[in-house]
């Protein structure tokens, strides 16, 4: 049970970092950071995960993103050892870990509630994991110091957790988990309880910490902005399955399904009939698109910032005619809602607030168009459940 499939091995070896290569030499197993193979998790009748396959490379900042109940936290708990899989196996650097209890896995977790020990000082909290491993005292001291320095709390060691702010508590939780130098750090919505400003600051801090320690981070969140701003790769999960896996740019620009397009960022969805490279809208307008061999009913997705807005007289062929119903100024940009015959919901157009002149009068007739390459054809509504 030590070696993985040959093809997998080859592909993964190509992608690993220097650290992983070293781990391979020591461990003698596969080079992948974490591999989940054919994971099924059932809670009674309910399927929380339906056949999940996932590979995370060593040193990666990986995000599991999805709405509540999609299975992302279950996936994290499976890696941490707090939940047992109904089927499938989990591998860490070529070693099977899914039968090990949590305290024997080289994996540490930052809990959503931080779960700091209130009867211990910050130092004692951070030192707890090392004491459990019976690390000598002087080494424990230096490692705790290093860890507190890493999160900028070197002056707070003697405080009790209750004397710290939410953001500081969160940092203690990170320090406590990282002091054990885990192969993987699991983070379960660690910023969920903090206000927006602090959250943004800690997002930056966490990515810096990640760069500094080089440990694999597996980060669970339901906040797409958070995932986009931090992750190397994102797995968008829905209903126990990974809908799409890719870099933030890939997922934003080329969402594979309406669910992903809708969950990540904002999108306009238009029902169309496709024939060759021509899409016909509900109001009869025909526009060029990349049909990619599709034909019949489909959904055309365009991001608000990719839409162009202008007078109907100046519009290129294939533009949608409509009426501006509302414009709202949002600081960095202006959102304009346009009613058209092509869709039930108004089209949302995002204009840079630097060209305020382009914002149409309310109730004026306008045209909306886009570059054919910016629109994406997805499965028709209702076909993807």
């Amino acid at each position: 049970m030590e070696s993985t499939g040959d093809e997998d091995d080859y592909e993964l070896t190509m992608a690993v970092t220097a650290a992983a290569t070293q781990a391979t030499r020591e461990g003698g197993g596969s080079a992948a950071g974490i591999e989940l193979r054919g994971i099924v998790k059932r809670y009674g009748q309910q399927l929380a995960l339906r056949y999940l396959d996932l590979e995370i490379s060593d040193g990666e900042f990986f995000c599991l993103l999805g709405p509540s109940g999609c299975g992302k936290t279950t996936t994290l708990n499976l890696i941490g050892g707090f939940v047992a899989a109904t089927e499938g196996s989990i591998w860490l650097r070529g070693k099977r870990i899914d039968r090990l209890p949590p305290h024997r896995r080289p994996v540490n977790t930052v809990f959503q509630s931080y779960a700091l020990f209130p009867h211990m000082s910050v130092r004692e909290n951070v030192a707890f994991g090392l004491r459990m491993d019976k690390i000598p005292k002087h080494e424990t001291r230096t490692r705790v110091d290093e860890s507190l320095l890493l999160v900028g709390l070197e002056a707070f060691g003697d405080r009790s957790p209750a004397q710290l702010s939410g953001g500081q508590q969160q940092r203690v939780a990170v320090a406590r988990a990282l002091v054990k130098r885990p192969a993987v750090l699991l983070l379960d919505e660690p910023l969920g309880a903090l206000d927006l400003k602090l959250r943004k600051r800690l997002q930056v801090e966490l990515t810096q910490i990640h760069r500094e320690v080089g440990t694999t981070f597996v980060y669970v969140t339901h906040d797409q902005e958070e995932a986009m701003s931090m992750a190397d790769r994102i797995a968008v999960m829905n209903d126990g399955l990974i809908e799409q896996l890719g870099t933030p740019v890939e997922i934003y620009r080329r969402p594979r399904s309406r669910f992903v397009a809708d969950f990540i960022g904002e999108a306009n969805f238009l029902d169309v009939t496709v024939k060759g490279d021509v899409a016909t809208f509900a109001d009869g307008t025909k526009a060029a698109c990349d049909g990619a061999g599709r034909s019949g009913r489909a959904t055309l997705m365009v991001r608000p910032e990719w839409l162009r807005l202008g007078a109907q007289a100046d519009a290129p062929p294939g533009s949608l005619a409509g009426r501006a119903v509302h414009a709202s100024f949002l600081g960095s940009h202006v959102r304009v809602a346009v009613d058209s015959g092509a869709s039930e919901d108004p089209l949302i157009v995002e204009l840079s607030s630097t060209d305020v002149a382009a914002v149409p009068e309310t109730d004026s007739e306008v045209a909306v168009w886009w570059e054919p390459g910016d629109a994406l054809l997805l499965e028709a509504d209702g076909d993807d459940g």
């Binding site: 707090f82 209890p101 949590p102 305290h103 509630s113 020990f117 707890f128 209750a162 054990k180």
Partner: protein, 304 residues
């Protein structure tokens, strides 16, 4: 002008403020009056009487107001009484330890694994025995442990013994068993209410950091429920220390506890000696509470 005013004000104030201060003191402390009366009539006065009795003596079945230390001297001069005192101590310690040892896993299980709606039911089941009289609950153990009791009949039916075993009753093990049964609910309820507030993620975090499950419980859960544990110890140990019915009914002559001595003295009209022993028990409890007071200090009980 200003001088006159400053001089006049204190004088005028002094005249008015004393009754006013008394009135405000009455206002802020007057609320304690009912408690004070209750405590005074039903606790302090009887206690005072017992203290006096313990220093008086009985002559010809009458309490005579002669001040003496004789009652205390008498108690410590009889070796059987000293033996009973030590026996009472270890029976109480054993019963308390067993009751809490059983109640802790029960409360842990209830708070961690039982769904909310089933918990209420189980808690009611724990309290149900209180609906029956104390005496009845103790006597019912006679029908379980007695020579023709349930346990003996079961053992005979299983063929493990052929003649009824008399060992189950009328000794200290029977007393401890029944005491554990009687006081388990107190320990279980106290522990449950303090474990129920625990954040279970902390145990997961401890295991995540490398602690074995039992180590995690010992290092993380137990220190945080210490006030609850101390309360449970007090709730069980103190009443057990003064028990006399249970040892009398299921303990027989070999199960005698210090409470029985008090009863015996009072029944023999030796009020002063009985009073001295009950005060010794009270003194011991006071000593124990002082030791535990540190663990019950307010910041620890309410701070977390």
């Amino acid at each position: 002008m200003a001088e006159v005013v400053t001089e006049a004000t204190p004088a005028a104030d002094g005249a008015v403020s004393r009754p006013r201060r008394f009135a405000s003191a009455l206002g802020s402390y007057g609320g304690f009056a009912p408690a004070l009366i209750l405590l005074g009539c039903f606790f302090l006065v009887p206690l005072g009487i017992i203290v006096c009795y313990s220093f008086w003596e009985v002559i010809n079945y009458n309490v005579v107001h002669h001040w003496t230390l004789g009652n205390y001297r008498y108690f410590f001069s009889v070796s059987a009484y000293i033996t009973t005192m030590w026996a009472t101590l270890w029976v109480s310690v054993a019963a308390t330890a067993l009751a809490i040892g059983l109640a802790f896993p029960f409360a842990y299980w209830l708070a961690r694994y039982v769904p909310q709606r089933l918990r209420a039911l189980l808690l009611v089941l724990v309290i149900v025995p209180f609906w029956t009289s104390y005496l009845l609950r103790v006597y019912s153990w006679l029908t379980i442990l007695g020579e023709k009791g349930l346990l003996n009949r079961l053992l005979q039916w299983l063929g493990i013994v052929h003649h009824p075993v008399g060992l189950f009753l009328y000794d200290r093990p029977a007393v401890i068993l029944v005491l554990v049964y009687l006081y388990f609910p107190f320990a279980a309820l106290t522990l449950y209410s303090s474990i129920d507030r625990f954040d279970w993620d902390q145990l997961r975090a401890a295991m995540d950091l490398g602690a074995r499950p039992l180590t995690a419980i010992r290092r993380i859960l137990v220190p945080q429920i210490k006030p609850g544990l101390v309360t449970a110890v007090i709730f069980v140990f103190i009443p057990v220390l003064g028990e006399y019915l249970t040892p009398q009914i299921v303990g027989g002559t070999r199960g005698v506890m210090i409470g029985n001595l008090v009863v015996n003295f009072f029944q023999a009209d030796e009020y002063t000696r009985g009073a001295a022993i009950s005060l010794l028990i009270a003194l011991f409890i006071l000593l124990m509470l002082t030791v535990f007071r540190k663990s019950l200090s307010a910041p620890e009980a309410y701070g977390a």
